[in-house]
Amino acid sequence: MNAPAQPIHFHRPNVPVADLVQDDKVHTSLYNDAAIFDDEMEKIFRNTWVWVAHVSEVPDVGSYKTHWVGKEPVIVVRDRKKQVRVLLNRCRHRAATVCEHKKGKANTFVCPYHGWSYALDGSLRGVPHPESYGDILDKAELPLVNLRVEEYAGMIFATFKDDIEPLADYLGPAKKWMDLFMKQGGGFPIKVGGEHRFRFPGNWKIQLENTTDAYHFPLVHRSFLHSVDKQTEEMLDFVTGKGFVEDLGNGHSVMVMIPELIDLEADLDKPIPTKYEELAQQLRDEGHDEAKVRKIVRAVGGSGFNLNLFPNIACSMAFFRVLQPVSVDETEIHHSVILMDGGPAEGNRARLRMHEHFQGPMGFGTPDDSEAWERVQAGARAGRDLWVLLNRGLPLEKKTDDGVAGDVSAETGMRAAYRQWKKMMTAA
């Protein structure tokens, strides 16, 4: 309803896909060619590790959430042996979805159409009135389809590709950044506390780029920056700062905006920022000792970096950004709030209010991002021979132990993502 009434889908020039991505630019058709989008769903989203959940979203036996891998609906559920399963949400009889809730708790999944019922591990348990099948129906052959599942640092990924490399290898140097990110529990395990779901009329890669784009922040988020305290505004004035963007391989990258907030368990003796003094005092009044207060307060604003994991998840300062392609020119974003599981309510309230302040359809940040992304998609209708530039920061890039790094507003992270995109889209 909200997309342009007659979207214009350009078709790519008559050149191989490999030529559409160069080291310093990508062709406009990557945003608006429907055939390329279909290829992406096949060659990328069915061929790599795709994030589906954080462990806190499926804490108990029977806890589940529904999600997607690419465009295919799945159920993420913890089975009776406490193993996380990712099941295609499709009855093996006549294809109806067996679960329509976003999250919940279940003992079985029962198809509403003819009543076929499945256990939490996907196995087919019950078929009403089986006599009509005689001996031609082997229930063991008709479970809900299980995807391969692995997790790291509480992040659950699934894949259609059975012979893919282990998740840990795919993540590579990104793993240490995931470990650092999870320290924002301030001594408590982290927990997803709900999310803002949001759509914009634009290609998914526009959002992928944005998570590693420091360059836009002072301009697009000027209104947000004018709504925060002076100390926060200065902290977020990072475009000319000492931060960096590092290509971590396999399309992953990290953008460090606030180097002082890389390790939230370090520098605990530094002065507490003015904006958190009240929270610190509340925590002290509740009887928490000074060490614990400092740990919580240092972590409460989140990490000083965005970790972009190709293709669909980012650990972004104080939240998870989940990216869900809908069509070539429509994308759904979930911004999940991160809380301290079992942590003090004051601290969690601070995190909730911070999330509401920036994120979501009524936040002071997301709507302006969304407007910018929508404008990219609209502008990309013009100039079918033109390219999207990704060369910012190239001359200053340096080799690192894990890859290459540029300054904080370099487009190094976007180049990393498109290199992986090209590798996967051109694989035999």
Partner: protein, 158 residues
Amino acid sequence: MNIELLNRAAAFIWAESDMLDHTEYDDWLKLWAPDGVYVIPIDPTETDFENTLNYAYDDSHMREKRVARLVGGEAISSAPVARTVRSVSRLRLLAEDAQLVTVRCAQDLREFRKDRFRQHTSDVTYELLREGDSFRIKRKIVQLINSTDTLTAVGYIL
């Protein structure tokens, strides 16, 4: 039923709606009790808004900031601003005592911005503090009927 009280509440709520549709935000801010809270929840069954994630949970400071953002001209999602017309009806007195009057109503809001026409339909609950013949808003809870779905930017006050 206390028709006289319902009429006074309706007059107050309609005036508030009219202020928002006509961007009279300074007057709107004055309608609030100092500790009043403006809430747009996500989960329709939630009642503990303070300890859960909402689309908005504005105390007086955040309301002032929200207004400043809408009129400041720096937010590209509010330039141009959306034009809105909201119809408020189906008002019902849920509770009343010497201090507080609780009214629930239906709000059907139409929005036009750039080239798009959108609709936002909500149940709105007002907790109104009695003040002479009129009221101050203690809580305004806007429950969008599609709050659990994916939304798009709302560049105004619901």
